[in-house]
């Protein structure tokens, strides 16, 4: 351990500009270094793993990352591409060649036969950098148009808590509420149940996770909540 001192306890709430550590650590995320001190960038919880320190924000907008599975809304259809709103600072582009394997001739074929404006699609981000807008792909298994159900939006910073470790939390909700749930990294969650009641229960459980995400023992509380209600 090279570090000299950690000034806050793990999982403590920190605010921007708060000194979290002094000495020599490696920064994971949410922290910047000035001189000898490490400052938090966010209102969030402090985490330490070995020599790695990080601050996880409690709120924030989605920022695209290559490999993310997102739920997007088709905003515009062009001759050979779609503009998709994925909730981040940049609009995403989905080329027809990335949307379908079939031969597509823009003279004969209509891109609206693939996706229409307003469609909700599940897609993967295949490329994104600082200079170019994110590009999507829907050709993989399980990607494409979402039919039926409802889409709710949560803060993207809570997505990892909603999924849980190895999907433990989300499978718990699926099991107890008997619904189909797809969680997008951008904070959009698609829920489809047999009836409205089950969908609403799943929504309530997710709301509970979002509200209590920063407190430990979440899985048990959610399990308790779902058992009580179903």
């Amino acid at each position: 351990m090279k570090g000299i001192s950690i000034l806050v306890e793990e999982k403590d709430l920190v605010v921007p500009g708060q000194v979290v550590a002094e000495g020599n650590y490696s920064i994971d995320s949410g922290i910047y270094k000035q001189g000898n001190k490490y400052f938090s960038e966010y209102v969030g919880t402090f985490w330490k793993n070995g020599n790695k320190i990080s601050v996880r924000p409690l709120k924030g907008r989605y920022y695209p990352k290559v490999g993310d599975m997102v739920i997007g809304l088709v905003e515009d259809v062009a001759l050979t591409s779609f503009t998709v709103d994925i909730g981040g600072p940049y609009p995403a582009i989905l080329l027809v060649s990335n949307a379908t394997d079939a031969q597509f001739d823009p003279i004969k074929d209509d891109a609206r036969k693939i996706f229409k404006t307003g469609d909700a699609i599940r897609a993967e981000i295949i490329s994104f950098d600082r200079t170019r807008d994110p590009q999507l792909n829907t050709k993989k298994e399980g990607l494409g148009k979402l039919v039926g159900g409802r889409i709710i939006e949560v803060n993207p910073m809570h997505v990892r808590r909603i999924i849980g470790r190895n999907g433990s939390m989300i499978s718990l909700i699926k099991e107890k509420t008997e619904t189909k749930i797809i969680v997008g990294h951008n904070g959009r969650i698609w829920i489809r149940g047999e009836d409205l009641k089950k969908e609403l229960l799943a929504t309530e459980a997710i709301d509970k996770i979002v509200r209590e995400a920063h407190v430990s023992g979440l899985t048990d509380r959610v399990a308790e909540f779902l058992t009580e209600r179903s």
């Binding site: 306890e9 999982k11 709430l13 605010v15 921007p16 500009g17 708060q18 000194v19 920064i27 995320s29 949410g30 910047y32 270094k33 000035q34 400052f39 960038e41 966010y42 209102v43 985490w47 793993n49 070995g50 924000p57 409690l58 709120k59 924030g60 907008r61 920022y63 695209p64 990352k65 490999g67 993310d68 599975m69 600072p89 940049y90 600082r130 200079t131 910073m157 997505v159 990892r160 999924i163 849980g164 470790r165 190895n166 999907g167 433990s168 989300i170 499978s171 797809i182 969680v183 990294h185 509200r211 209590e212 920063h214 407190v215 430990s216 023992g217 979440l218 899985t219 048990d220 509380r221």
Partner: protein, 486 residues
């Protein structure tokens, strides 16, 4: 600071008005804050980082911070016309630049961070109240920042340095100096100055403001975590209470065997060999090291130790039995944030100063006053000019004769009465008008000989024209003392 009461609301010289900060008051915005500073009521809403429209404003290397300061028509005494005034545009611009210095804009190239600041009610020092709200709202929106900014105005009132000028003090006083400052970085983000200050006065005001801002930022911090602490305390107190009831007989042995601290240590040891994924799981088990809210420390101890026992065996089960779902890759992938902001660009660390092309805030104050004061023939900003320009008439003839309206302190009231009896200059609106006139007249007499002796710090350039300032200062001090003896 003297303990004498000389301010209208009975505050001490270095005392600020009541400050309340509340965060997350709006649902639609990404982040929001409501600030009440005395009579000022401010609402700030943050949206972003989001797509920037119009596109041509986009910067390829960083996000654009756009603060829009607006006053509602009923925010001031007389109706404020809803068309953006020059003053509103100025404040929007200086706030945008001040906050660009602390927001880590390089993380969101080509995007916009929009802040809407609405003055619901204004009463002096509204731009600093707006800055406090903006800072809290930005942090609440999860925008990465190098530090929180606080702001407060100080100035010269009754020839004395005072903190946090109220509306009337601002109008009657001879100097106003709003400062935005980030205590954790020790950086000044905004420094505006209007009126005349001696170097000593400026130093006093500056130090007073910095001290006050440290307190303001502490309040911001409390407001930012308040919501989360509340939820956590609520849940934990519920859980602890629950477990106490269920297993109250068995607790005593467990408590001795495993005091509160061991739970943490054990888990930390286990954590190291595991992958990063385990963090999630540990979070479920570990007891929060908390300021015990409702329960005595002993019971918390026992409950936590108890809890550890209960949950320990459950963990491996969850780890092994769970089949990796379709979304499972998500949890690992999402661990790192997209950019590691290790280095902060040096340019952003430099404090923001007001570029020379902005017109002076004196004008802004004039306009504000013109709107706020019904009979404003004798606004404070005019006073220096009068003193310099016309010897015989330090006070305009058309000023309205009026008795002092609201005597807050009897002493001052008496003083004023006496003064009015001795010499009878036409009284002006406002409580201290006649006294101010007296002072200005005397000041002018001393200034007549050495006209350029006072230090003049303007917003454009902070030039210091101080050839013979010491002499004039002493003279003026003596005069002031004489005056007080009277």
């Amino acid at each position: 600071m003297s303990e004498e009461i000389f301010r209208l609301d009975g505050r001490k010289a270095n005392e600020m008005r009541n400050l309340e900060i509340k965060v997350g008051v709006l649902e639609q915005a990404d982040g929001s804050a409501k600030v009440i500073l005395g009579k000022n009521i401010v609402l700030a809403a943050v949206n972003g980082p989001r797509e920037l429209h119009p596109k041509h404003l986009a910067l390829s290397q960083k996000a654009t911070v756009r603060v829009t300061y607006k006053m509602l028509p009923f925010s001031v005494e007389n109706r404020k016309h809803p068309v953006p005034s020059r003053r509103e545009k100025e404040i929007s611009k200086v706030l945008s630049e001040a906050f660009e210095s602390v927001v880590l804009t390089h993380l969101f190239p080509r995007s916009a961070i929009d802040v809407q600041v609405q003055m619901i009610q204004a009463d002096g020092g509204s731009r600093t109240a707006a800055a406090i709200a903006t800072s809290a709202a930005l942090a609440d929106a999860g925008i990465p920042m190098r530090g929180l900014i606080g702001g407060i105005a100080s100035g010269i009132y009754e020839e004395k340095c005072v903190l946090d000028l109220s509306g009337i003090e601002d109008n009657v006083g001879t100097g106003d100096c709003p400062i935005l400052y980030a205590p954790s970085l020790d950086e000044v983000s905004l420094l505006q100055l209007d009126g005349k200050f001696t170097p000593e006065q400026f130093k006093t005001c500056f130090n007073m403001s910095i001290e006050a801002i440290k307190g303001i930022v502490e309040k911001q911090k409390d407001a930012l975590v308040e919501k989360y602490v509340k939820i956590r305390d609520e849940i934990l107190s519920h859980e602890i209470g629950h477990e106490e009831v269920t297993s109250i007989e068995e607790v005593s042995d467990v408590t001795e065997a495993k005091p509160h601290t061991t739970t943490q240590e054990e888990i930390l040891v286990e954590e190291i060999p595991m992958e990063t994924e385990t963090e999630e799981e540990i979070l479920e088990i570990e007891e929060e090291p908390l300021p015990e809210p409702t329960v005595s420390p002993q019971s918390l101890e026992s409950a936590s130790a108890e809890k550890h026992d209960v949950f320990e065996p459950a963990r491996p089960l969850i780890i092994k039995n769970e089949e990796p779902k379709e979304e499972s890759q998500v949890s690992t992938d999402n661990l790192e944030s997209p950019v590691e902001p290790q280095s902060v660009s040096s340019e952003s660390s430099s404090p923001v100063f007001i570029p020379p092309d902005i017109s002076t805030p004196q004008m802004a104050e004039e306009q504000e006053m013109a709107e706020e004061q019904e009979v404003s023939e004798t606004t404070s900003s005019e006073e220096p000019e009068i003193a310099v320009g016309t010897e015989e008439k330090p006070i305009p003839a058309d000023a309205i004769e009026e008795e002092p309206l609201k005597p807050v302190s009897e002493i001052i009231y008496e003083k004023n009465k006496e003064l009015e009896k001795k010499e009878q200059p036409p009284a002006r609106r406002g409580f201290f008008s006649s006294r101010m006139a007296e002072l200005l007249k005397k000041q002018y007499v001393s200034e007549q000989k050495e006209d350029e002796e006072t230090l003049e710090v303007t917003v454009e350039e902070e030039d210091e024209e101080t050839p013979n300032k010491n002499k004039s200062d002493i003279e003026r001090d003596l005069e002031f003392l004489d005056y007080l003896d009277d």
